[in-house]
Symmetry: C2
Subunit: 223 residues, 2 copies
C-alpha cells in the first residue's frame, strides 16, 4: 500500500511540476512577476494582499490576484475593494492550490491579460504543510507568519519555510499584547532558511509596506 501511495504521489507531483514549468515560461514571456503567498489560516494574507494591491495601484502598477479557499468567495470580495482584478478559486476540500487550477483560472479571465500585468499574486489556501509541495509556476514564494502564532512555527513547519524566497511577519501592530518575541522569531526563520529577506509589516498601520513595495519593484525590474 505504502509503495503504491508513494508512486502515485510522485506521479501527481511530476505532473504538477510539468504544468508549473509551462506556467513559469508563460509568466516570464509575458513579463509578469508572479508571487505565491502561503501561510496558516488567519495569518492575515488577505489583509496584507489587499493593502499591497491598493498601494501598487496608487503607484501606477498593474496588479491582479488569484485567491484560493476551500469554500466561499469572501476573500475575492475583500480583495476586489482594492480595485484590482481578482478571481476566486474554490478547491472544494482540497488543501492547496495546484498548477492545473492556476492554468484553468487564467483562461477566460475577463479583462485580464498576463502581458498587461506587472504583478500577479496567488493567495494559497491557508495551510502550512501541503502547499509546500505544489509549484504554481511562481517566481517568488512568500511565507507569512503573524505575531500571534508562536515564534517556533519555522521549526515546526520547515518544509514550507525552507521552500520560501521571502518571509513576511504580519500584524506587528499587536506584537506587544501578543507577547511576541521578535529576536526569537527572526532567529528561527534564519535557522531554517539562512539569509532569507524578512519584512515586518502591519496591513493596519502600513508599517513595513514601503520596504516590501521597494522589494517588489526591484524584483519586477527586467534583468
Amino acid at each position: 500500500m505504502t509503495t503504491r501511495i508513494v508512486e502515485l504521489r510522485r506521479g501527481i507531483l511530476k505532473k504538477n511540476d510539468e504544468l508549473a514549468a509551462g506556467l513559469r515560461h508563460q509568466f516570464t514571456s509575458a513579463g509578469v512577476l508572479v508571487l505565491n503567498l502561503v501561510s496558516s489560516p488567519g495569518t492575515g494574507k488577505t489583509a496584507f494582499l489587499e493593502r499591497t494591491l491598493r498601494e501598487l495601484r496608487a503607484r501606477g502598477a498593474q496588479a491582479a490576484a488569484l485567491v484560493g479557499d476551500l469554500e466561499t468567495d469572501n476573500d475575492a470580495r475583500r480583495l476586489a475593494a482594492s480595485g484590482a482584478p481578482v478571481r476566486q478559486i474554490n478547491t472544494h476540500g482540497i488543501c492547496h492550490l495546484d498548477a492545473e487550477m492556476i492554468g484553468r483560472h487564467l483562461e477566460g479571465w475577463e479583462g485580464v491579460s498576463l502581458a498587461g500585468l506587472n504583478y500577479l499574486f496567488i493567495e494559497n489556501v491557508g495551510n502550512l504543510v501541503c502547499p509546500s509541495s505544489y509549484d504554481l509556476g511562481e517566481r517568488i514564494r512568500v511565507v507569512l507568519l503573524s505575531v500571534t502564532e508562536g515564534e517556533d512555527k519555522p521549526l515546526k513547519y520547515p518544509g514550507l519555510f525552507n521552500s520560501a524566497d521571502a518571509a513576511v511577519i504580519t500584524k506587528i501592530d499587536i506584537a506587544e499584547p501578543c507577547g511576541f518575541d521578535r529576536e526569537l522569531a527572526l532567529r528561527n526563520v534564519n535557522e531554517i532558511r539562512p539569509g532569507i529577506r524578512i519584512f515586518e509589516t502591519s496591513a493596519k498601520t502600513g508599517a513595513g509596506m514601503d520596504e516590501w513595495l521597494a522589494y517588489l519593484a526591484e524584483q519586477a525590474r527586467p534583468a
Copy 2:
C-alpha cells in the same frame, strides 16, 4: 488517474476508520475520555491544553496527552511542565495524525495505562483541512479558533467545523486589540454546526476555563 486516487483515498480512509473503531473500543473499555484538538497552527492549542492539564491535575484528575507535529518536540516539552505524562508524535511531513500513529504511540508509553486515566488529549497537527477526515477513535472532537484569525474561518473550512463536537475560542484576552467581532464569529460557528457547545477562553487569564472544565467532568461521567 482521478479514479485511482479516489479509490486509493477511500482505501486509506477505510483502513483508518477500522483502526479508529478499535481504538474507540479500547478507550471506552478503559473508561478514559479521549478528545482530539484541531485548529490552525498558532491558535494556541498547546497553551490551552497546558492550562487544561494543570487545572485537571489540581482537581485530582488523571490526564495525559499525545501531541502531533511535523517536527520538533517543543510542544511535548511545554506540555510536560503541567506535570502530566506527554508523548510527542512527529509526523515528518504528514499533515495530520492518523489512527495508526495513535495506536503505535500508546504502546510502551512508560508509566501510562489507559485504565489509570480519566482523560487523554490528542493535540493534532496544526491544519484546518486534512485532520477532518481522520478519525482517531476520540469521543469528542474539539475545534479551536483564536480571536486573531478572522471570524469567517468556519465558513471557509466547513468540513472541520462540521465534524466537531465542541468549539473553543482562544485568546479572548486580546479580542479588543484584534478587533474581534464576537457576534459574527458565534453566528458563523452556529451556521456550520448549529447548537454546538462554544467556550470562550483565555489560557493566559484563565477566563472561561471553569466552564470548560465543568464540561469535561460532565462528559467523563459514566452514563
